[in-house]
């Protein structure tokens, strides 16, 4: 039976909600008209997305020459943005997979929106891979297809090919994991639909789901096994992304610390983005009873932990550069901190190493303004981390005559802003049409972790 949980354990659902209240609260945004703020946000995001189409179209039509890249710096904002977006996606999988394996019930209020964020972030990341190819019509070349260029297959020793497999697996597995969880919730919307159109669409979306005992048994097994295989998957994805750099011979890239350091950084930035999104979502959609200060506090603790791991990794890199005795390696790191891009390096250090340490204070961890502000700071810092790794390592080549500087053109900046538009457009549509909280799963903890259960007496006899 539903177990009795200690009153000392935190309340995960506030406001004495019942099963039906959860249904009402989660379905309300879908069944009512969006307010003025949603429309303003949507119009701004959609405009940025249209801008993305224009600048990507311009890049493809004219060629990569419209970017600020040169012979020495061949990767810059494109790959910075790719790694930044993929990293952001990692928090969603961590919440839905790793926290499920650890039986962390607080994930139930936030897993749906965090997974949605994962899907949209990976779409943005993939868009940078395709646009940085310059010729998107040959984007199928990294796939292992029989071709007529000779019997030349793709090179499976190359991390860039590993990345194709890692990102496509990650995207498609995250998508089915997310969608499978959505099916029972779509059925809730379907069964209470009052308009014909809503009934029609949610009948299609819910795949004819009825919560029979066998269906739920399979559903739970599928969720558990998907969590089990998504856990090594998410850790592998950013490891493989880091190997795009680490297996090369560029000083500043060629380090064995990269995989764990990239994974920690990814979770760090991902949770910051979850905070940014959820602090607004809980307010706008009136979900404060479900996404409580406790949830925000727990996510801030993860930001503190992963931020500290990232800080240690930065210092370790510096120490190892000195300890290696390799002149090029030492120069690469001294140049990062004191060279022409010092401002990028110190922005990264301030945002990623110093700012998360503020979360040792419980007062700041449970302060919405501080959390929102720091979540933006962390995302800026993590963007600079990728910029520093990529551009400062490349811009000082082995031969000093090849030394250059890099600065982005308006096209690159436009594509970045446009990708934010793509991301927020998708998220806003999600918040409007999809159940933003996994209600079917959340209902399982109402008898153990809600404020009503904590008061006792409600089910004292069990």
């Amino acid at each position: 039976m539903s177990h009795v949980e200690s009153a000392l354990r935190p309340t995960l659902i506030e406001g004495d909600r019942t099963y039906h209240d959860i249904t009402e609260d989660v379905c309300r945004p879908i069944e009512s008209k969006p307010n003025k703020w949603w429309w303003i946000a949507f119009i701004v995001s959609a405009a940025a997305f249209l801008w993305w189409i224009i600048v990507v179209g311009y890049t493809v039509g004219t060629g990569l020459g419209v970017w600020g890249l040169n012979k020495t710096v061949g990767w810059a904002w494109d790959i910075t943005n790719f790694v930044w977006w993929v990293g952001i996606g990692h928090a969603g999988t961590l919440i839905s997979a790793i926290l499920l394996l650890f039986r962390q019930k607080w994930r139930l209020s936030i897993n749906r929106s965090a997974e949605a964020m994962t899907i949209f972030a990976v779409i943005c990341a993939a868009s940078f891979i395709v646009s940085h190819m310059g010729r998107p019509w040959v984007a199928y070349w990294p796939l292992p297809l029989a071709n007529q260029f000779g019997s030349l297959w793709v090179n499976f020793n190359s991390p860039l090919v590993w990345d194709v497999f890692a990102i496509s697996t990650y995207f498609s597995v995250s998508l089915v994991f997310w969608y499978t969880g959505l099916i029972p919730d779509f059925a809730v919307v379907r069964d209470r639909a009052k308009t014909k159109a809503r009934k029609f669409w949610y009948t299609i979306l819910s795949f004819g789901w009825v919560g029979t005992a066998k269906n739920w048994q399979r559903f739970e097994e599928v969720s558990l096994v998907l969590a089990g295989i998504s856990t090594p998957l998410v850790l592998s994805v950013h490891s493989v992304v880091s190997m795009d750099f680490a297996t090369s011979v560029i000083p500043g890239w060629h380090t064995t610390i990269f995989p764990p350091y990239f994974v920690a950084g990814a979770i760090f930035s991902g949770f910051a983005m979850v905070q940014t999104l959820l602090i607004i979502t809980r307010k706008v959609l009136n979900l404060e009873n479900y996404i409580t200060m406790y949830h925000i506090d727990m996510m801030n603790r993860i930001i503190l932990l992963t931020g500290s791991i990232v800080g240690v990794a930065y210092l370790t890199e510096f120490f190892i550069a000195w300890y290696s005795g390799v002149e090029y390696e030492q120069y690469a790191f001294i140049n990062r901190a004191t060279g022409p891009y010092w401002w990028a390096y110190w922005s990264m250090m301030t945002c990623n190493v110093i700012s998360p340490q503020l979360f040792w204070s419980a007062k700041l961890r449970t302060n919405l303004f501080a959390t929102f502000f720091l979540s933006i700071i962390v995302n800026i810092g993590m963007w600079f981390e990728r910029f520093v790794i990529i551009v400062t390592s490349l811009h000082r080549d082995y031969v000093p005559s090849s030394w250059t500087m890099y600065s982005p053109t308006w096209v690159e900046m436009g594509i970045f802003i446009g990708s934010l538009g793509l991301f927020f457009t998708c998220f806003l549509l999600f918040a409007r049409f999809f159940p933003v909280i996994a209600m079917s799963e959340l209902k399982t903890i109402i008898k153990s972790s809600s404020s009503q259960a904590k008061k006792g007496g409600h089910h004292g006899s069990h």
């Binding site: 099963y19 292992p144 019997s151 597995v173 029972p184 069964d191 299609i204 005992a213 998907l226």
Partner: protein, 173 residues
């Protein structure tokens, strides 16, 4: 002449009452066929006597297939058909290249395991776009629980009263 079967649905508004009801009805020799709930209930599959799902075994088999396919593909393309020597790293034998082949092997294993399992789940549970749901109570996905019992036609009245005794808030046929 064989008696025709009669199906009766009892609607409950709490999963704990539902579970107790299943125990009670089984004690009276009434066959509980299925239950519909808005969320997974622990202990329900044992109470109804459902067998364990074998979907995780299927998942393992899909994964193992993926592992083999990935290794076969890389062996054929990079070792057998067209070995390349890139950056002084030749492709002579599968086991010598294994370290470099592990990431793709792993990713492809996960890809096959996850999609194979989910497709199996959808097909076995008949979940596909366009399938008409069998809705017995309009709040069965919200906060109500449907218990399906089966018996002989002539026992219908007894079945209904048995459901009522166990705390069903509504009875449907």
């Amino acid at each position: 002449m064989a008696a025709t079967k009669k199906t009766v649905y009892g609607i409950y508004n709490d999963e704990e009452i539902l579970l107790k009801a299943i125990g009670n009805l089984k004690g009276k020799g009434i066959k509980c066929v299925d239950a519909i709930s808005p969320f997974p209930i622990h202990g329900l599959d044992q109470a109804l006597g459902l067998e364990r799902t074998r979907i995780s075994i299927a998942c393992f088999l899909y994964g193992a297939t993926g592992t083999c396919l990935a290794l076969l593909m890389m062996w054929y393309m990079n070792i057998w058909d067209w070995p390349m020597d890139i950056g002084g790293k030749p492709s002579f034998a599968l086991f010598k290249n294994m370290p470099a082949f592990i990431p793709v092997t792993f990713e492809f294993t996960v890809l096959c395991a996850a999609h194979g399992m989910v497709i199996t789940f959808y097909l076995r549970s008949k979940l596909l776009p366009g399938v008409e749901p069998h809705v017995i109570h309009h709040r069965q996905a919200d906060d109500h629980f449907v218990l399906t019992i089966e018996g002989k036609e002539e026992n219908a009245a007894a079945m209904k009263s048995a459901l009522k005794e166990t705390g069903a808030v509504e009875i449907k046929e």
